[in-house]
């Protein structure tokens, strides 16, 4: 998956979890929580959706990798590409 495809996949998940929010103005470098109303249950939703949609298991020690859009992409892109190679 390209960087843009990974970004779009994350945006799709966020749009489902935070349906009242405008996703068009996300600043990739800032933390997601600064920009979107997300709490710990929402965060667990992101982890669940990655599991359901991409069969990705994010271990608890890596949760901090999901803090901003940029860090999400950096963390998830290689994993997603490994998944594709494996399949």
């Amino acid at each position: 998956m390209t960087k843009d495809e990974v970004r779009q996949a994350i945006l799709d998940i966020l749009a489902d979890i935070a349906p009242d929010e405008d996703m068009n103005s996300i600043n990739d470098e800032a933390t997601l929580r600064e920009q979107i109303d997300l709490d710990s249950m929402d965060f667990l939703d992101i982890v669940m959706e990655l599991r359901k949609r991409f069969n990705i298991e994010v271990p608890e020690k890596d949760y901090e990798q999901l803090v901003s859009m940029a860090s999400c992409i950096q963390y998830l892109q290689p994993i997603l590409n490994d998944r594709q190679l494996a399949s």
Binding site: I17, P19, D20, D37, M41, D45, M48, R51, K52
Partner: protein, 412 residues
């Protein structure tokens, strides 16, 4: 009784299958308009149900709807509407002195069925079971969602009381006001039961699920051709206050709760027992200081099951037999059985009778079952009475839980 101990209804918030506020609901009850329709349910396909179409986004964000439950959403809508109807600005009340007391027939079945269905898509791997399941299924969920939405910091809980639950919520609110535990109670009942296939399947297995080619004719209490319950969703919540507080702020008063009672049959899991039901009605009358003949409108519980209706009619004959001026109606004939909401919702539909003196009819009563023979069932058209001073509402549930409320036209 002092005005600190007299409890009045100052606000009504409701959603019924045929109306999303008291005016619309009342108008449709007087017009004979049913709210029962065809409804798709998981595994069973098409069934009949009473479905509410209130605007859930009126008081909630999309995210709250996604995270919470249907019962929570119904509860929030009804509580908000009840506060608005009472003319109460929640910003200006001490919200640590507000209590939320909501009756539920059951809670958690909908959410558990959804999760089991969800993991069935993942070969029953429980790592796909939602972290939202616990907060969605704790028994206090509907009342808890209300406190988050309305920023109420006083007590909240639900009262599990089968189909007597709506009245039980009101009784709880009344008692807490009398004890001085709270200054304002949002009390009543809610139901999301139509979103579980299990309730339809279980009534079907009992031989107690209504069917009819015309959905609007399916709920037929007291009728010879009744064939069971129409399951419905809904909510009915009252703003309750001490009379002294209501008068201080010149609140509009829908009625005064002058009698209540609850007891247990101690008889059977599902079959009601007329003697205990009669005792419950008599206890409510006694507490109100009334004779049976003082009641003008009796809103019956009858759900249109074969045996349940007969049992309630036996109880009604024990208490009201021979009374010529006690008029009986039944709201489930319009909206089906709204379970935890039934007591409050059905009583609500009758409260405007204090003003317009009209007894809304029972519909679908084409041929009275001789075993349900009662004097003065109002059928077909509304009946205007000379005066309406007292309304009694019956709500009974499984395990023989009985609840009765008596509301009086407010007089200072």
């Amino acid at each position: 009784m002092s005005s600190e101990q007299r409890i009045v209804i100052t606000g009504v918030g409701l959603t019924a299958p045929n109306g999303n506020d008291l005016n619309e609901f009342r108008k449709n009850l007087l017009a004979g308009k049913s709210g029962v329709q065809k409804f798709e349910t998981r595994y069973m396909g098409e069934v009949l149900a009473g479905v509410c179409d209130f605007d859930a986004l009126k008081y909630q964000k999309k995210k709250e709807l996604r995270r919470g439950t249907r019962a929570g959403s119904i509860a929030i809508y009804c509580c908000r509407e009840a506060a608005i109807d009472a003319g109460i600005n929640m910003e200006s009340v001490d919200r640590s002195r507000v209590g939320v007391y909501l009756g539920v027939t059951e809670h958690g079945n909908v959410e558990t069925e959804n999760e089991v269905y969800n993991i069935s898509k993942y070969d029953y791997d429980t790592k796909f079971w939602s972290h939202h399941h616990n907060p969605r299924t704790v028994a206090n969920n509907p009342a808890g969602e209300v406190t988050l939405n309305m920023k109420i910091t006083g007590p909240h809980y639900t009262i599990g009381a089968a189909c007597a639950a709506g009245n039980m919520g009101v009784i709880q609110g009344l008692q807490m006001l009398r004890l001085g535990e709270v200054d304002l109670a949002l009390a009543g009942g809610v139901s999301e039961s139509i979103h579980t296939f299990g309730i339809f399947a279980s009534f079907n297995s009992e031989g107690a699920l209504a069917s009819h080619e015309d959905p609007t004719k399916a709920s037929r209490p007291f009728d010879k051709n009744r064939n069971g319950i129409v399951c419905s969703e809904g909510g009915g919540v009252y703003t309750l206050e001490r009379l002294s507080d209501a008068q201080k702020r010149s609140a509009k008063i829908h009625g005064e709760i002058v009698g209540y009672a609850t007891n247990s049959d101690a008889f059977d899991f599902i079959l009601p027992e007329p003697e205990r039901q009669a005792e419950c009605m008599r206890l409510a009358l006694e507490r109100a200081g009334l004779k049976p003949s003082d009641i003008n409108i009796l809103n019956a519980h009858a759900t249109a099951t074969q045996l349940g209706d007969i049992q309630e009619c036996k109880a009604l004959r024990k208490v009201f037999g021979g009374e010529k001026a006690v008029w009986i109606n039944n709201t489930k004939s319009f909206i089906g059985h709204t379970m935890g909401a039934a007591g409050t919702l059905e009583l609500s539909g009758n409260l405007p009778a204090f003003e317009d003196r009209l007894v809304h009819p029972t519909i679908n009563l084409d041929e009275l079952d001789p075993e349900c023979s009662l004097e003065n069932i109002v059928t077909g058209e509304p009946r205007r009475l000379d005066r309406v001073d007292y309304i009694m509402n019956n709500s009974f549930g499984m395990f023989g839980i009985n609840s009765v409320l008596i509301v009086k036209r407010f007089q200072n």
